[in-house]
């Protein structure tokens, strides 16, 4: 695949140019943190951002999304009929997606785009979007993407991968969608072949800057029953306050809630992100709750990511190693530690192996 070199000047010009064809999203610094935002005229994505506080999942899958509208006006013919909102998506491009966040989209796709039923809201937004990734030259302390099926230069889920080298950027198109994005930006300068070895150096340096690794190889062969009854869940859940932060910041969490909201005589049906950490998530109208206790909810979240998903789709874990839940958890619950415990748990002796990772 040919590599395109983008200097600072053509970078700014190219971004402005694609804005006429795409709605362009990129990381922008707001107060202390970076967030993905729709870029306005002359606004540039900040490529020096380590990573955004929240993942770009809300661009494809908004936190609150209106699906239907209805009227409760008895005098109208369409009273009490659900009308689907228009769901046409103009092309979007997300610039500066880190490889971990990019891998989250193919993972979430397995749920929303399953062979038996397709979620049109998610799929249309996903298909309209070009993912322009940015390789990581240095890792955060909480990153463990190399253990989660990707890496700082990972390409899965991306249409274009950009690599920053000092002031210069190199862009590599991965899909046809990415190719047309590069054309729309008008970036044509091919990089010299010497750059390849430079990129390999950057890649090796980036990979070695990741200092946590987690083994997940043994989880698959353990039975649900033995992990489910493991004693460490209560220990791990002791500090948990069921705030749901981990699920909201997670790029691969997809659970939602459907609610009707009425204003006067008209209303909307929308779906909102929900969290398995909340007791009401599974609370039945009858009063029965299958996950009534805190540790059961914590167990559900980690078992879903590291065991149920693995069993259901046989395609790696439902975690991309971005480390957001570790950074933002108010009580320092660490998925790496839980993963290690699950992986090394021995049901016979009821202990996790002593070898530390």
């Amino acid at each position: 695949m040919k590599l395109i070199k983008i200097d600072q000047q053509s970078w700014a010009a190219g971004i402005e140019k694609v804005k006429s064809d795409y709605r362009v999203f990129g990381p922008v610094k707001e107060k202390n943190d970076h967030e993905f935002k729709l870029l306005e005229q002359n606004e540039m994505p900040d490529v020096n951002c380590q990573n955004t506080r929240l993942s770009p999942k809300s661009i494809i899958y908004p936190q609150s999304q209106v699906m239907f509208t209805y009227s409760l006006d008895e005098s109208k013919d369409d009273c009490r009929i659900m009308k689907e909102v228009e769901n046409v998506k103009s092309p979007m491009a997300i610039i500066g997606v880190r490889p971990c966040d990019a891998l989250a989209f193919p993972i979430v796709r397995r749920n929303f785009d399953s062979p038996e039923y397709q979620d049109t809201y998610w799929i249309k937004a996903y298909e309209a979007t070009t993912f322009v990734g940015l390789a990581c030259n240095s890792a955060c302390g909480t990153c463990f993407c190399t253990s989660a099926g990707t890496g700082p230069f990972g390409e899965e889920g991306l249409d274009v991968l950009m690599i920053a080298d000092g002031d210069d950027l190199y862009a590599k198109s991965i899909t046809a969608k990415g190719e047309s994005f590069i054309q729309a930006a008008g970036w044509t300068t091919e990089a010299e072949s010497a750059v390849d070895s430079k990129i390999d150096e950057l890649k090796t340096a980036a990979e070695s800057s990741i200092n946590s690794s987690v083994a997940t190889d043994k989880i698959k062969n353990k039975t649900i029953l033995e992990l489910y009854d493991a004693p460490f869940w209560e220990e791990e859940a002791f500090a948990c306050i069921n705030c749901g932060t981990c699920t909201y910041v997670c790029p691969t969490c997809w659970c939602f809630d459907v609610q009707d909201e009425t204003h006067g005589k008209s209303g909307i049906r929308m779906r909102n992100w929900d969290s398995c950490m909340f007791p009401l998530f599974t609370h039945h109208a009858s009063g029965h709750n299958p996950r009534n206790v805190k540790y059961e909810r914590l167990r559900q979240r980690f078992m879903h990511k590291l065991k149920y998903y693995v069993d259901k789709y046989d395609n790696g874990i439902q975690c991309v190693g971005c480390g957001r839940c570790i950074r933002l958890c108010p009580v320092n619950i660490d998925i790496r530690k839980i993963c290690y415990k699950m992986n090394s748990f021995d049901a016979e002796s009821c202990v996790c192996e002593a070898t530390s990772s």
């Binding site: 209805y70 409760l72 009273c79 009490r80 009929i81 659900m82 749920n111 929303f112 399953s114 038996e116 039923y117 979620d119 039975t223 649900i224 029953l225 033995e226 489910y228 009854d229 997809w254 659970c255 939602f256 809630d257 459907v258 609610q259 009707d260 009425t262 209303g267 049906r269 779906r271 929900d274 398995c276 998530f281 599974t282 609370h283 039945h284 109208a285 009858s286 029965h288 299958p290 996950r291 059961e296 078992m303 879903h304 149920y308 998903y309 069993d311 259901k312």
Partner: protein, 302 residues
């Protein structure tokens, strides 16, 4: 898990039952359509439960809308929400469907205020069903506790309509007290049918109660069946499954021949919102009807 499996395999190796047919999944594309329906009758069953008779506004919708005992439908009340409700009527009745609904949450409270002629939406049907066809030629135990009679009424109707295909039929129903008994006007009818054994038990009798008193498992004490030729359908609160199915197991009924209908909170019905999952199993797609063997291997199921 392997150890448990082995011990049961030895006993039931020879009479493995056909797995549930999950073909419903291939028809899922039909379910995003919401049918406009009208409440034609509201029948008060107890203080808490009402039976709603519902008819499609458009006659042609009936052609697409067929269901099987044990499946459920999403009942939609714009402005309040959507709820999963099991069918309480026989699938062969093509004029109306009947849904027995307890006043419990936001939608059901609004629904209990609804009058004849109110318009609702129906989406579905969803989920797996009781495998009535393979049950033919066998004895059948239909066991319900409390509100469990609502989903059980569909297979009861099926069995009554096809009485000749079944050997012994026992309908066992238990409730907390006589005022909570559902469909009490039908017991007389079921009772009069030749060769159907209907037993009703309450836990806390009132002065006028002359029937048996105790828990549902007590009714099983008097039943003599050939376990190898018996199927059981059990509907009720999760706690009931444990005791009833344990008792049935002691009587020798294979776990793969006991079917239960699980209750879960659901929002989408198509396996997307992840609310009803039990491990990697989605109750809306792989359930709500499971054989008890599967339930025993699903942690958190009951």
């Amino acid at each position: 898990m392997k150890k448990i499996m082995q011990s049961y395999d030895i006993r039931h190796e020879t009479d493995m039952v056909e797995p549930l047919d999950f073909n419903r999944r291939s028809r899922l594309k039909d379910v995003d359509r919401c049918f406009k329906a009208e409440i034609t009758n509201v029948i008060r069953l107890t203080d808490m439960e009402k039976l709603f008779q519902i008819r499609m506004v458009n006659d042609k919708d009936w052609e697409r809308f067929t269901f099987l005992p044990g499946q459920f439908v999403m009942l939609e009340l714009p402005g309040y929400g959507e709820i999963p409700i099991s069918f309480s009527s026989s699938p062969s009745i093509r004029s109306t469907i009947e849904l027995c609904i307890r006043k419990a949450g936001k939608v059901t409270q609004a629904l209990h205020k609804a009058k004849r002629g109110a318009i609702v939406g129906l989406r579905g049907p969803f989920g797996t069903y009781f495998p009535m066809e393979p049950m033919k030629g066998n004895n059948i135990l239909l066991i319900a506790g409390g509100l469990g009679l609502a989903p059980l009424r569909a297979p009861i109707s099926f069995v009554i309509e096809n009485r000749a295909d079944f050997k012994e039929v026992h309908i066992l129903y238990g409730a907390k007290d006589p005022s909570q008994l559902l469909f009490d006007y039908q017991y007389e009818e079921w009772h009069r049918i030749d060769d159907i054994n209907l037993e009703v038990i309450v836990e806390q009798p009132d002065k006028s109660w002359i029937g048996p008193v105790g828990l549902i498992t007590k009714l099983l004490d008097d039943i003599q069946i050939t376990p190898d030729e018996t199927y059981a359908i059990v509907c009720g609160p999760p706690i009931m499954f444990k005791f009833v199915c344990k008792r049935l197991s002691e009587m020798g009924v294979p776990m793969q021949r006991m079917f239960v209908s699980l209750e879960r909170r659901m929002h989408c019905g198509v396996g997307k919102c992840c609310r009803c999952n039990i491990g990697s199993t989605y109750t809306c797609l792989d359930g709500p009807v499971f054989d008890f063997w599967t339930v025993m291997n699903l942690k958190e199921a009951i």
